[in-house]
C-alpha cells in the first residue's frame, strides 16, 4: 500500500511539469493558432470567432470547413514579412556571435579566477537584472545619441571631430542585444568552463600542444554544450526582440517582433499577427530541438 502511494507520488511529481507545459504553452499556442485561422472583423475581439459551441453541435463541426490558411498565404505574398523574418534571424545571429566573442573570455576569466573571488564575479554578472530591462535600454539611448555621453567623451578626448551616428542604426541594436543578453551567454559558459579539469590543458601542453592549439582541441570541444546553450539562450529571445529594435533601432529597422507588434496594435489584424507568431515559433522550435539533441548526445558521452 505504502509502495503504491510512493509510486503514485513520484508519478504526480512528473505530472507537474507536464501540467505546467499544458497550461502555459500548449493552451496559449492553440488559442493563438485558432486566431491565426480566422478572419479579421470589426468586433471585440477583432476577429470572427472560429470555433464555438454556442450554435449547437452541427454548427460546431461546420465551423471546421470555414477554417482557412489565408493569413499564412498572405505572409508569403507580402515580401515585408519574409524580409522581417530574415533580418531578425540575421540580427539575432550576428548579436549571438558577438555575445559569444565577448562572453567566452569573460566566462573563462571568471572560471580561472581564485575560488574566493568567483561568487563576487558571478554576482556582478547577474547584477544588471536588478534594474528594469526597459530602463537599461533607455539608458543606452542617453549614451548613444548624437549628443550622448559616448559622443561627448569621444569629442572631448579628440578622437573624433563630428558626432558618430549610432542611435537608430543596426549597430545600436547589436549593442543593445549583446548588452542585454550577455549574462545568458556567460552563465552557461561559466558553468561548463568551471567544471572543466584544468589538468587536461596541462596534459595537452605536456604532450607538445601549445596553449592556443590546446584551446581548440580540448577546451572548446569540452565546453561545446555550454556554448550551444548560451547561443540558444541569446539567439531565441533576440529573434523575437521588440523593445530593443523599437527604442534603439529607429523606424526603418525591420524585425519580426516589431512587425508583430504593429500587426496587433497598429493594424489590429489579430489573425495575421497570430500567423506571424506561429511561424516565429516554428522558426525557433527548430533550434531548440537541435539544442535538445546536442544535449542528449553530450549526456550520452557522459560529460
Amino acid at each position: 500500500m505504502q509502495r503504491a502511494i510512493a509510486a503514485l507520488t513520484s508519478r504526480l511529481v512528473i505530472v507537474v511539469p507536464y501540467l505546467w507545459l499544458l497550461a502555459f504553452f500548449l493552451v496559449p499556442f492553440i488559442i493563438v493558432f485558432k486566431i491565426s485561422l480566422s478572419t479579421t472583423a470589426i468586433a471585440m475581439p477583432p476577429y470572427e470567432p472560429v470555433i464555438t459551441l454556442s450554435n449547437g453541435i452541427g454548427a460546431f463541426f461546420a465551423q471546421f470547413r470555414d477554417l482557412h490558411f489565408d493569413n499564412y498565404a498572405w505572409l508569403g505574398d507580402d515580401p515585408l514579412y519574409m524580409r522581417a523574418y530574415l533580418s531578425s534571424v540575421v540580427i539575432a545571429g550576428i548579436s549571438t556571435f558577438l555575445a559569444l566573442l565577448i562572453g567566452f573570455p569573460v566566462a573563462y576569466g571568471m572560471a580561472r579566477a581564485p575560488a574566493t573571488l568567483r561568487p563576487t564575479l558571478l554576482m556582478l554578472v547577474i547584477l544588471p537584472f536588478w534594474t528594469s530591462f526597459l530602463i537599461r535600454v533607455y539608458a543606452w539611448i542617453g549614451i548613444l545619441k548624437p549628443e550622448g555621453l559616448l559622443n561627448q567623451f569621444l569629442l572631448f578626448t579628440g578622437i573624433i571631430d563630428t558626432p558618430l551616428v549610432i542611435l537608430n542604426t543596426h549597430t545600436a541594436i547589436f549593442i543593445g542585444i549583446v548588452y542585454s543578453y550577455l549574462p545568458f551567454m556567460i552563465l552557461p559558459l561559466y558553468a561548463s568552463l568551471e567544471k572543466m579539469d584544468y589538468s587536461l590543458i596541462e596534459a595537452a601542453n605536456d604532450l607538445g600542444c601549445p596553449p592556443i592549439s590546446a584551446f581548440w582541441k580540448i577546451t572548446f570541444p569540452l565546453t561545446l554544450p555550454g556554448v550551444i546553450a548560451g547561443c540558444l539562450l541569446v539567439f531565441i529571445p533576440a529573434v523575437g526582440e521588440f523593445v530593443i529594435p523599437d527604442l534603439l533601432g529607429g523606424s526603418q529597422t525591420l524585425m519580426i517582433g516589431k512587425t508583430l507588434w504593429n500587426e496587433f496594435f497598429a493594424n489590429r489584424d489579430w489573425p495575421v499577427a497570430s500567423a506571424v507568431a506561429i511561424i516565429l515559433l516554428l522558426l525557433l522550435v527548430v533550434p531548440i530541438m537541435f539544442f535538445q539533441q546536442a544535449q542528449a548526445r553530450a549526456q550520452e558521452q557522459g560529460k
Binding site: D197, S199, L200, E202, A203, A204, N205, D206, L207, G208, C209, P210, P211, S213, I218, P221, L222, Q301, G302, K303
Partner: protein, 379 residues
C-alpha cells in the same frame, strides 16, 4: 655501506664519480607568495634511473616535478636536463612527459586518440602513429579497448591509458605524479611491478612522486626524502632503511625505536651512549662526538625479545615488561615497556609454528640487540 640490506645493485651510476647526471637541480628555490615550496635544493638524477621523490603532502615534491615538466619556473636556481638549461622552455617543447595523478585523459577522445594526441603534435606520419599506438596498446594490454572512451574504462585501465599516452612519445624522462594513488591496494602492488618492468623494457628515466614509502622502496633505484622543501637524504632504499641520516628519515621510512642519549665514549666507529633506559654500545657512531646529544635508532626486527635474562656480558640488554602483543601471522610484534616508561617495539619472525619461549601480557621480558644493529643519529 655497500653491503647494506641484501640487495647488491649492478646499476649504480651515482657511485661513479665520472658519471654525468642526466637531470640536475642546482640550488633551486620556488616560492608561492610567502610560502617557500622548495628551498635551495640540489639534486642529481642519472640516466635510466628509477628515482622517487618521497615526502608528506606539502613537502615540495610535486612542485619539483612540475618545475621539471615546465608548469612552474623556479624562483631562483636552475634545472638541467641532458646538459640543457630548461629555464624558459615551455612545457610543450620539453622532452619530458608526465603522467598526471588524475590521469587527465581527454574525455572526448577514445583511448586510441588519447595515445595518438602527443604523436600528432609532433607531426608524425599517419601510418607511423597508427603503428606506435598499436604498440603502446599492446604494451599496456589494452588492445581490445582502443575505441572506448575513458569513462567506459575501470580505474586500473585508465591508469594504463595515461601511462601509454605519456610514454608514447618516448620522452627523455617520464614524470609520474602519484601514479598508483587512485588504485586499490591489490592492484597497486601488481602495477608497481608492471611499472618497473616497463621502465626496464623502455630504458627510460623515471621520476616518480609519492607519499607512500612502500611504493618508493619497491620501485625506486634511489629515493630522495623531502621535508619542507629540502632534501633530507638521497639514497638507495636499503640505505634509507638501514642507515637513515636523521631522526626524520628514520621515522618517516618504516617503524623505528629511538633512544635519546649522550655520547659518553667513542673509539673508532664504536660509541657508548648513556640513555634513560640504560647504556647502549653501538658500532655505527657516524660523526657523533663525545658529550653530544644523539639518538640511537633501531628497527623492531633487529631487537630480540626473551623471557630469560641474557648471559652477563651481553651488550645492550634491557629489562621491561610486555605491554602489548600484536600477532600478525608471519610475525609477532611485542611492545615492551621499559622502567623509564619508554615503549620499545620488537618484532619476531614466526619461523616455527609453536614458540619455544611464549611471552604473554605483563610478563617480565628482556630485550637485546647487537652493537651493529642500530645507528647513531646526530641530526
Amino acid at each position: 655501506m655497500n653491503s647494506l640490506g641484501s640487495i647488491r645493485r649492478s646499476f649504480a651510476p651515482w657511485t661513479d664519480p665520472s658519471a654525468k647526471p642526466y637531470i640536475e637541480f642546482r640550488n633551486v628555490t620556488k616560492r608561492f607568495g610567502d610560502f617557500t615550496a622548495v628551498n635551495d635544493l640540489s639534486l642529481s638524477i642519472y640516466e635510466r634511473e628509477f628515482f622517487a621523490l618521497l615526502g608528506a603532502s606539502g613537502c615540495g615534491k610535486s612542485t619539483l616535478l612540475r618545475m621539471l615538466a615546465g608548469f612552474e619556473e623556479p624562483t631562483s636556481g636552475s634545472i638541467f636536463l641532458d646538459g640543457q638549461d630548461l629555464r624558459g622552455i615551455p612545457p610543450y617543447r620539453r622532452p619530458v612527459n608526465m603522467m598526471f595523478q588524475s590521469y587527465a585523459l581527454f574525455p572526448h577522445m577514445t583511448v586510441e586518440q588519447n595515445i595518438a594526441f602527443g604523436l600528432k603534435q609532433d607531426g608524425m606520419a599517419k601510418a607511423e602513429i597508427e603503428q606506435r599506438v598499436t604498440e603502446m596498446l599492446k604494451l599496456v594490454k589494452l588492445s581490445q579497448f582502443a575505441k572506448r572512451k575513458p569513462h567506459q574504462l575501470s580505474g586500473g585501465q585508465r591508469q594504463r591509458v595515461a601511462l601509454a599516452r605519456a610514454v608514447a612519445k618516448r620522452p627523455k624522462v617520464l614524470l609520474l605524479d602519484e601514479p598508483l594513488g587512485a588504485l586499490d591496494k591489490k592492484l597497486r602492488e601488481e602495477t608497481q611491478f608492471e611499472l618497473m618492468d616497463l621502465q626496464q623494457k623502455l630504458g627510460l628515466t623515471f621520476v616518480v612522486v609519492t607519499h607512500d614509502q612502500e611504493e618508493a622502496m619497491t620501485m625506486a633505484d634511489r629515493i630522495a626524502i623531502l621535508d619542507k622543501g629540502e632534501v633530507m637524504q638521497v639514497a638507495t632504499p636499503a640505505e634509507v632503511y638501514e642507515a637513515p641520516g636523521s631522526r626524520f628519515v628514520a621515522g618517516f621510512v618504516g617503524t623505528v625505536n629511538i633512544f635519546e642519549g649522550k655520547v659518553s665514549a667513542r673509539e673508532g666507529v664504536a660509541a657508548t651512549i648513556m640513555t634513560d633506559g640504560g647504556v647502549i654500545h653501538s658500532e655505527n657512531a657516524s660523526d657523533a662526538t663525545v658529550g653530544s646529544d644523539v639518538a640511537f635508532a633501531i628497527r623492531p626486527e633487529k631487537i630480540k625479545v626473551s623471557s630469560k635474562e641474557p648471559a652477563p656480558g651481553v651488550d645492550n640488554a634491557m629489562q621491561g615488561e610486555v605491554y602489548d602483543i600484536a600477532y600478525l601471522g608471519d610475525m609477532t610484534v611485542y611492545h615492551v615497556k621499559l622502567p623509564n616508561g619508554q615503549v620499545v617495539r620488537a618484532s619476531a619472525l614466526n619461523a616455527a609454528r609453536v614458540t619455544e619461549d611464549p611471552l604473554t601480557w605483563d610478563d617480565t621480558a628482556w630485550i637485546s640487540f647487537r652493537p651493529d644493529a642500530g645507528v647513531i643519529l646526530t641530526r
